[in-house]
Symmetry: C2
């Protein structure tokens, strides 16, 4: 077990057998004191029960002591029975730890529509509680993985005026990753002492610049949740502008690093497409163009095949709805210009480009015109592994 | 050769070797008299040169004598050189047939960005002209196929008050099929004598109800074009309301039949998803929900795998942007209700459903609420064949 958690947090996991035996599918984080909560949730009209409950906690008191995560069951589209079950799992943790049920943040992932298997929850709870303090960030991350090929977590120590604080990020999410939100589930822990509003503000900005700018398949799930708990156990108060800026800077960097892991793993993705749109009339136009390219199945399959078929990228820009003059548009693939002011570039660089397209990371640079609007998006490619993983996910 | 063309039209084809040897990749339709033209084009900001020229002909005089089709080269994103080349191909046909260049409608499909190989055009033109009258609808259709697994054409005779007229439809289009437009290329021929405005009006309505309601991968191409030529060679005037209604009815039916072929063949598609949205607040809301489901990679891969994962459908409705109350939503898959008023239906019909999902055609019925807005969409599934076809299309 690695010492990769901020002070004051303990982690436990257990295998309840929700979907598969011989793996942990329950995870619990407990803070030894009340933590300031920041959070962002899915925009999907069908919110899962745990999303509704986390949102209620955020708006009602904005503090929490625990995060309870499970894989194998999403508890989405489950009606009032799903909400009642979710509250029962909160109470189980409260009873076992002495905290209040409404300090427990539930997050779930898995198949939509099935009710929680409460007997399995009841049976696994003692093991989960007993294991508190014996697991690390990787262990927690493994407990809420679904089709993820590898666990996604990262840790940074941030030197500040009064001392050092730690940021630890644990995320899962391969499918259904899309702007608003980028990941199904992500938990950020820090032992910094930071005011709730300042914490939520920097959290929102950091998520917008990172997780909200990655795309795997364009589907936004019913369960997407990102939670940030700041428990202050370091004793280091983050209130001065320089400290707040330093913490936000590292938070943005570490969320960007984890977002890159999500795209890299996007349902069997082989490549990460880094789409950079510049020169748009507005940020909104740049975002339309970037998302259209990042969501295009034809672009994603071409990149999967290492095919320099830039015409598909231009096509996706063309139907994006962004406003621009086609005669101003330029496009580079892996740094090699293929389209200049609305016309193809004819040169002998096809072979060079074919070699560059074999890389894991592919840059797509699009200039729409002389404007100042810009947007960056990371998207996954689309290959056979995606189809295999998703064609029969439930079984 | 089948006698499947309306009176007054002759067809020829030739192999120019644009992309592959030993296949026809040039097609020509010639009418023995001027035909009333109806047409609809891609909404993509990057229109191919042939689209620009067809649009000019439609708006300038609205009549035509010939359709010149090619596969292997899209002549899109090719600037003024592409436009000049396209006009040269019009002149070649005009010189060889005695008609005016601006009576020749060019339509192209293939790789974007490359300039037309004018030497190959010049060399193949005599064979193309010589073959006029020796080919049928299937022959023409085969000349503009790209990744299509089978040629798509259909013929109907329409009994009217003064006699019978014929409708023949020839289409290609597997990839890049999406609402606005549904197919890359489609030509409708009829020997009915119908006023230009009446022809364009019924044509627009029929396309909106058929081709604009199918989706393969959500990409709208630079070249999508649907042309309708009514040359009046039957001598049967279609001007009375009953006749106009009869012609429009059969036109809508035959375009629907060909649109179904397009989805069935959608880049290696195995299934056609028939998405029916009812009870929406407006048609626009119904369309948002239907397109969100029809474009969802997760829904399409689940259907490919025969997986009754209805949660993905509900999820796609949830992020569609349509306005509705989640507690009103109902969903049936293959006629079996899985979601009722926002809650899952728990029964023992999973096995029955699994068997039904093996069919080629899958019905997805969604009720959003008590409203009167509705929308139907045909979408393809997403499987390994799609990835294989599109990962290296250019080579």
């Amino acid at each position: 077990m690695r010492d990769d958690l901020p002070r004051g947090f303990r982690v436990g996991t257990a295998g309840a057998g929700f979907k598969k035996p011989d793996r942990d599918d329950l995870g619990l984080i407990l803070s030894d004191r009340s933590a300031a909560l920041a959070a962002m949730f899915t925009q999907n009209a069908f919110c899962a029960a745990p999303v509704l409950i986390c949102r209620e906690i955020l708006h009602r008191h904005g503090t929490a002591r625990a995060v309870l995560a499970n894989s194998g069951q999403a508890n989405a589209c489950t009606g009032t029975e799903g909400l009642d079950n979710c509250r029962r799992t909160q109470r189980m943790v409260a009873d076992g730890t002495g905290i209040s049920p409404d300090e427990v943040l539930p997050i779930s992932t898995g198949v939509i529509g099935a009710q929680l298997k409460m007997d399995l929850w009841t049976r696994a709870m003692p093991t989960l509680l007993d294991s508190l303090g014996s697991r690390d960030a990787e262990g927690f991350t493994r407990a809420f993985m679904t089709t993820d090929a590898f666990p996604k977590f990262a840790m940074r120590d941030v030197p500040l005026l009064q001392g050092s604080v730690r940021l630890t990020v644990m995320a899962k999410g391969a499918g259904m990753i899309c702007p608003n939100m980028a990941t199904m589930l992500c938990v950020v822990l820090t032992d910094a002492l930071v005011a709730r509003q300042a914490w939520q503000d920097m959290f929102g900005r950091a998520v917008e610049k990172t997780f909200n700018r990655v795309s795997v398949d364009g589907d936004t799930s019913t369960n997407d949740t990102i939670l940030g708990l700041a428990n202050g156990a370091s004793g280091v108060t983050v209130s001065q502008d320089a400290d707040l800026a330093a913490l936000e800077s590292v938070l943005t960097e570490i969320l960007g690093a984890v977002a890159h892991m999500l795209v890299m793993d996007g349902e069997g993705a082989g490549k990460v497409l880094h789409i950079h749109v510049r020169g748009a009339l507005s940020t909104a136009d740049a975002r339309l163009a970037a998302r259209s390219v990042g969501h295009s199945q034809l672009v994603k399959t071409a990149m999967y095949g290492g095919d320099a078929n830039w015409g598909r990228i231009v096509t996706a820009v063309g139907y994006s709805g962004a406003t621009f003059d086609p005669n101003d548009v330029c496009l580079s693939l892996c740094g090699i210009e293929r389209f200049h002011n609305g016309r193809p570039v004819n040169d002998d660089k096809e072979e060079e480009l074919a070699a560059l397209l074999k890389a894991k990371d592919v840059d797509i640079d699009i200039v729409l015109g002389p404007g100042s609007g810009s947007y960056d998006l990371q998207a996954s490619d689309l290959g056979h592994e995606y189809v295999s993983l998703n064609a029969d996910y439930r079984s």
